[in-house]
Amino acid sequence: MINIIVITHGEFGAYLIEAAEGIVGVQREGLKNVSISTRMTLELIKEAVASAINGMDSADGLVFLIDMPGGTPMNVVLPLARDIEKCAVICGVNINMMTSAFAYRQSLDFDRLTAKIMEDGRKAICEVRSLLMKKQ
């Protein structure tokens, strides 16, 4: 199974996990969350991320779902991700990306899963009033 680590500013990731698990079911293993607080020093953040990675390296692959490209989660995880053979760091996490990651991490291989997470995340961004109410 492909493992997942969620790293976000504040409790965003923890609440996103709660919401996504309500939709596709509780993830009993292979999932960790790191919530980064402004009260944490950079050293502390690095330690928290390194300790989350510990034991999550999987032959099937490891996917990091993080919030902002260029934010602290990305800056901290990238140097650590360099040494993990099969891993991806995916920015811009939204709920569709997370439900896809949870729903397909056992059935898709690593490359297909990472492609699907990004595709489903992009598809989720849409203005539905104009899309669905043209006729009215």
Partner: protein
Amino acid sequence: MMVLYRVDDRLVHGQVAEGWVPHLKADELAVVSDEIAADPLRSDIMRFATPEGVDLKIMTVEQASQYLPQAETSARKVLLLLPGLAEAVALLGKGLKIPSLNIGGMHYSAGKNLSIGKAIFLNDADCSALKALAAAGIKIEGRGVPSDTPLDLIGAIA
């Protein structure tokens, strides 16, 4: 073939699209509701919520009684969605065989005072309908998503 018979008042939504469809590898969602069949906007919204590569059919109870016997013998995997127990009782009344029924969501409204799990709220009429369905030989479970532990609803209302 029919891969799931489900009662869920939200019909096509996240638990179905992201939970059950990949779990059962469903090819088609069949929504049976006279109300939705007569409502183009809600039909469009449901089409939008249906995953790519999956067909959506929306039909009345009458149409379903014709369609479902064919769907049972087809190689396509069909997931049936009913908005409430009334549709299940109506299909049964039309002679349709339902081996098992998954109760995924019956949300709270006034008078639905018996709650079981997070998303099932029943009034007296619901309990009678469930008992009638069970008495007809239908195996009934309460379960939101595939990985949840099934709830014994008949045991809970006995």
